[in-house]
């Protein structure tokens, strides 16, 4: 079994990460790879385009019959359902069905499995573990969850390992032990006065029950962490040309480097290309159109061309700047589509501008 290629679409919220991940998946399918896209919360039209009109936590085939696809290429898509993923993992990893049901019924578990800080990231890695071990795909594309810091996704496996092995858990699971220091006693008095005995009991039971499955969670976490750092894994940073999202991109590059992750390239979304229009030739008006009408339109078109080109110039400078900041990594650019993304044919307009179907706009042309 050869391990699949893993492509992770990272980036802050609002840059079009989910759309890019879907288009990238389509690009790899068209190029002949067995591809799966793990999306997080796609907008409805994108979900429709992928045939994911209902929430489904397992890969569904996307109908590509309207497109010309290279031999062997296929596309599956799934949408992460945190709760279902967590529940399934608990059932798989529990020592007995009874133990699993007891944990699933715990009040704290029910709140924690969807709302715990980082639960989204962690469940994405759990799902990723399933896809990595499925042996059905050549390429796995992951739309990482929206977070304040794009790097959170990569830290999640380790954070959960720490949570289940932390001092709090040991204390809560076994509160009678080690409560000798005055500070600790006072601390627990405070915790009780803050949230009451019920919550402390619930949480203690939660961690006690989680004790049975935490080893499995930690093992999966470790496997995913290894996969994230492997040579088969590439990070694509999705951004826009705006100053704010570029600033987010630059800080991500720094954090990723500190984590030993390398950036494969950028995808700049909503990229405006310059228009080449013969503005000088607009006067005088030809005979078959009235002079005022011609004048009004030529002024409007000139205004529009100047506006577009000023933005295009700024976007091109931004692309160069990004590529250099990250050490000459390749940059792909996606246009702002004037027609919607309601079908795979619409999505193909973006796929055609992405790897492996097209070389980058900037950077090494390999």
């Amino acid at each position: 079994m050869t391990s699949p290629r893993l492509l992770l679409c990272c980036g802050t919220g609002g840059v079009g990460k989910t759309t890019t991940a879907a288009a990238l998946g389509l690009a790899y399918a068209i190029a002949g790879y067995r591809t799966v896209v793990l999306t997080i919360d796609p907008a409805r039209r994108l979900a429709d385009a992928l045939g994911l009109s209902h929430l489904d936590n397992d890969p569904q085939p996307v109908d590509l019959s309207s497109l010309s696809v290279a031999e062997g290429g296929s596309l599956h898509a799934l949408m992460l359902d945190r709760k279902a993923t967590f529940d399934n993992a608990v059932r798989d990893l529990s020592t007995s069905p009874e133990a699993a049901e007891k944990l699933l019924a715990n009040r704290y578990y029910q709140a924690a499995s969807t709302r715990l800080t980082g639960a989204h990231e962690y469940m994405a890695t759990e799902k990723l573990h399933q896809l990595l071990t499925a042996d059905r795909y050549d390429v796995i594309i992951v739309d990482t969850p929206p977070s304040r810091h794009a790097i959170d996704f990569f830290l999640a496996p380790r954070k959960v390992q720490e949570l289940f092995d932390g001092p709090v858990v040991r204390r809560l699971v076994n509160p009678g032990r080690g409560l000798t220091g005055g500070g600790t006693r006072r601390l627990f008095a405070w915790v009780l006065s803050l949230v009451g005995q019920d919550v402390v009991d619930d949480i203690a039971e939660f961690f006690r029950l989680m004790g049975g499955v935490s080893e499995g969670f930690a093992r999966h976490g470790a496997q995913v962490e290894t996969a994230l750092h492997s040579k088969q894994t590439d990070l694509l940073l999705v951004t826009t040309a705006s100053t704010a999202s570029r600033a987010g991109a630059v800080s991500f590059i720094r954090e990723a480097a500190a984590e030993g992750l390398t950036l494969h390239g950028f995808v700049i979304n909503r990229f405006i290309e310059p228009v080449d229009v013969p503005l000088h030739a607009l006067h005088p008006a030809p005979n078959d159109v009235s002079e005022p009408l011609w004048h009004r339109w030529s002024v409007a078109l000139r205004h529009e061309a100047v506006r577009r080109n000023a933005i295009a110039e700024r976007h091109h400078a931004a692309a160069l700047d990004l590529s250099q900041t990250a050490g000459q990594v390749p940059v792909w650019a996606l246009p702002l589509l004037t027609e919607g993304l309601g079908s795979v044919t619409g999505l193909r307009q973006l796929a055609e501008r992405l790897p492996p179907l097209t070389p980058p706009l900037l950077g090494p042309q390999s």
Binding site: A43, A111, W297, A300
Partner: protein, 312 residues
């Protein structure tokens, strides 16, 4: 009810719609009307200060305009503040707030971080200390994760989980503020295009009981596409014959963009109108990026619409 007659405005919307810009615009417009307002960033965000030449985030309020402050909250700063002002706890207990075990516990309880920050908001509104500025209006720039409405659920889920203790008491007070449409309003921000408007309308459907908090819709970054109303059908073939395809493509793209923008704004406006909620628009500043000097322009654009009779 006028938009600014509330105590708290929660700026909500998907990532990338310009929530921070809208929050600042609301703050400046309220300040010009003579209200004491603050733009509040949560989870330690610090996007507002650099736009006004201030370094970094700060828990302590700083002025960004006459009558308008900004500050940024983190859960632990709020907890410290709570301990100092409300519990009047001694230094030893406050040290416990910094204890690693205690922090790990706090981090593990869902909604606790939200609750501390909302507690600070609630105290500023209902029981300000002598050294707190007397704010008329707090504008919350919701965190970048999700769409900001999870904040509303935080107090509810704490009440569900926590039977007693100080946290339950706090959660109850916060619920009272956040569920009161007289005092709390949601400002839903979107962009003038099909996809963002669809997402906003989906968000609207998910509001449930919180729908009555909806105070205004704002379509941000509306392009000023100045195109003649008529004559394109006459123009296009002549242009194509004389100048080639590029000008025609440019014109067609501009027309399509304009039509899409109008359609998107209309759909959003209608959806809010059926709920008796006004919609305002803010212009997109082009071709350069938004600059500090553009903020008053946006605030004036909003004020002009607030003055208009149909908005009252």
């Amino acid at each position: 009810m006028s938009l600014f007659n509330r105590k708290v405005l929660l700026v909500a919307g998907k990532g990338g719609v310009g929530r921070t810009t809208v929050a600042i615009t609301l703050g400046l417009a309220a300040g010009e009307l003579g209200l004491r307002a603050a733009v509040v960033e949560l989870y330690g965000s610090g996007s507002v200060p650099p736009r006004f030449g201030l370094a970094d985030r700060s828990f302590t309020p700083r002025a960004i305009a006459p009558n308008v402050d900004t500050f940024s909250l983190t859960p632990y700063e709020c907890l410290d503040d709570f301990g100092r002002k409300k519990l009047r706890v001694n230094a030893l207990v406050r040290m416990l707030f910094h204890n690693r075990v205690f922090r790990a516990f706090i981090d593990a309880v869902p909604g606790m971080h939200d609750l501390f920050q909302l507690g600070k908001i609630n105290h500023l509104i209902t029981t300000p200390s002598a050294d707190d500025p007397p704010y008329d209006l707090l504008i919350l720039d919701a965190p970048a994760t999700g769409h900001g409405l999870t904040l509303l659920a935080a107090a509810d889920s704490m009440r569900e989980m926590v039977g007693g203790g100080l946290v339950a008491d706090e959660a109850e007070l916060i619920q009272a503020l956040l569920h009161d449409p007289e005092r709390t309003g949601i400002v839903l921000v979107t962009l003038p295009d099909e996809l963002p408007v669809n997402e906003s309308l989906e968000l609207l459907e998910q509001l449930g009981v919180n729908e009555r908090l909806l105070a205004a819709g704002i379509v941000n970054q509306v392009r000023d596409l100045r195109l003649p109303e008529q004559g394109w059908t006459e123009m296009a073939p002549v242009l194509e014959a004389r100048e080639g395809a590029s000008l025609v493509q440019l014109g067609r793209a501009a027309i399509l963009t304009k039509e899409r923008q109008i359609r998107a704004i209309d759909r959003f406006r209608e959806a809010l109108a059926t709920r008796d909620v006004p919609t305002f628009t803010l212009p997109r500043i082009e071709p350069h990026e938004l600059r500090t000097s553009d903020q008053p322009t946006l605030a004036e654009a909003l004020r002009a619409q607030l003055r208009a009779p149909e908005a009252s």
